[in-house]
């Protein structure tokens, strides 16, 4: 078992090295808070480590778990009226700045759909809104992003 777990840990580190950077930015783009992003990604990988070799597709698992953990934290903060510190846009700017121009739900839908590959139904479950509303946010967010990115200053 220990050998299997060590193998699983090594495999998970490979996943982290391959996916961690992208995953962290995706969760940050969604949550808008570095602490939430770091905690969610670290927690997801820690849970995956705990499970050892029992996860069939570790990359897919930690992606889903990270977003769900971040969503839970955001929900907790809303419930207790904690402020979410909006992150400073990184350098270089560009798309990330444009994402900051979207509403939180629009940003979440765009990132989860176009970056993380979630279906509308799953996004609705994560964000706690109807699938139809996810579609509205996605369409509006996409149009707004297109306007920002393709505008004179884009």
């Amino acid at each position: 078992v220990r050998t299997k777990d060590r193998t699983a840990a090594s495999a998970l580190e490979v996943v982290y090295r391959a996916e961690g950077n992208r995953l962290w930015w995706a969760v940050l783009a969604y949550a808008g808070d570095r602490d939430v992003a770091s905690d969610a990604v670290a927690e997801a990988f820690a849970q995956a480590l705990r499970r050892g070799s029992g996860i069939e597709d570790p990359a897919a698992w930690v992606w889903r778990a990270s977003f769900r953990i971040a969503a839970g934290e955001l929900q907790r903060r809303r419930r207790f009226h904690d402020e979410v510190t909006v992150t400073q846009s990184p350098t270089p700017v560009g798309l990330f700045t444009a994402l900051d121009e979207l509403s939180r739900n629009q940003r979440a839908c765009v990132v989860l759909h176009y970056y993380a590959g979630y279906k509308l139904r799953e996004i609705g479950e994560i964000l706690g809104i109807s699938k139809a509303t996810v579609g509205v946010h996605l369409t509006r967010g996409r149009r707004r992003l297109r306007a920002i990115l393709e505008g004179p200053d884009g």
Binding site: G20, F45, R51, G135
Partner: protein, 354 residues
């Protein structure tokens, strides 16, 4: 939107903090979620069926490509599933519940999760694009896939759509888009004119027109303190004379009259165990509620067979720990002889049975 995907990918060129040292020593603070075992379960079930010779129809379904269109026919169950491996939105597929033959039926060009609803006379099918705003919210087609008309451009719809018996109108949960949000209510649209009329304001988790066309059955949700609840109601087609059928607490969703109008099948969950809803059948007046399925996961969206002898439904029981994954089952109307028809790689949601 390939450019957006490319630009999003560019984000990762910026360095993120190295969390691995923390991960290696971190004690998980939350209970680990179950592993995604759906493919393993599917393989085991498929092997068991093959070895034992059990005559169940079990289709392990993996969509192949987007843009597929085809035909469907009477007897088929239309179901919603992912359009293709590479496309996150869904399309309408068709399955013969007795042979397990699966085929793509319709895929709207715009984005949105699509459902197919047979008209009661089985001449037409309403394709709804839930979440899609770049075109009509409903497209009416023939069973051969040829288009009849487009409806509700600029509206949003959910999967809750029901025909009137003569197929001249559709009732639906949805509405206009206001300030970037789908302002959901209960609406009716005339198929010939395309004119939409709001029937009732509120928050609905299902609507179904009675087989005699005299009334509508709907599940209306409301806030009860911190809890969200939903109960069943019946009203005239214009929304008047609403009468509450149930007062069980919990959450009712996707009610559907039996073809003879004497029973109602519906998904219901205790609110505190909302992810473990089950399929129930009630008398038409809301009395004598019977649970038909064991809540191993979330069983939802019952769909009657045309002869009223069987009920198809969707279940998350094969996808525990994988939110969004659903398989399709069929059982007798008394809950016996349940068998799985489609186990989707992602999800398979029964929407209508001809």
């Amino acid at each position: 939107m390939a450019d957006l995907r490319t630009r999003l990918t560019d984000i990762e060129s910026n360095p993120a903090p190295d969390l691995w040292p923390e991960i290696g020593t971190r004690e998980p603070s939350r209970a680990p979620s179950p592993a995604p075992t759906r493919r393993f379960v599917a393989a085991v079930v498929g092997l068991a069926v093959a070895v034992t010779g059990i005559g169940f129809v079990v289709v392990t379904f993996v969509p192949t490509r987007s843009g597929d269109v085809g035909a469907t026919s009477k007897g088929a169950i239309l179901f919603e599933t992912r359009a293709s491996i590479d496309v996150p939105t869904s399309a309408v597929w068709s399955v013969d519940p007795d042979t397990g033959a699966v085929s793509p039926f319709f895929d709207l060009p715009q984005e949105g999760d699509e459902s197919g609803i047979w008209s009661p006379d089985h001449r037409l099918i309403a394709i709804t694009a839930e979440g899609g705003l770049d075109g009509p919210a409903v497209v009416i087609v023939h069973p051969d896939g040829s288009e009849v008309t487009q409806l509700l451009d600029g509206y949003c719809v959910t999967a809750h759509v029901s025909w009137v018996p003569d197929a001249t109108a559709l009732f639906f949960v949805g509405g206009r888009v206001i300030d970037g949000t789908c302002a959901e209510a209960l609406w009716m649209v005339d198929v010939a004119s395309g004119e939409a009329t709001q029937i009732r304001d509120g928050w609905f988790s299902g609507v179904d027109v009675a087989p005699d066309g005299e009334s509508i059955l709907f599940a209306e949700a409301f806030q009860d303190g911190a809890a969200t609840r939903s109960e069943l109601w019946v009203s005239a087609l214009d929304g008047s004379g609403a009468r509450q059928l149930t007062s069980n607490g919990g959450y009712y969703a996707s009610p559907e009259w039996s073809p003879d109008g004497r029973s109602i099948a519906v998904g219901w969950a205790d609110f505190d165990r909302r992810l473990h809803s089950a399929i129930y059948v009630l008398d038409a007046d809301g009395a004598h509620r019977r649970r038909l399925t064991d809540p191993q996961g979330a069983d939802m969206g019952p769909v009657w067979s045309p002869d009223g002898r069987r009920i198809a439904f969707s279940s998350s029981r094969d996808h525990l720990g994988d939110p969004g994954g659903l398989s399709m089952y069929v059982m007798n109307a008394d809950g016996t002889d349940e068998y799985r028809v489609v186990i989707g790689d992602e999800y398979a949601i029964a929407t209508s049975w001809a």
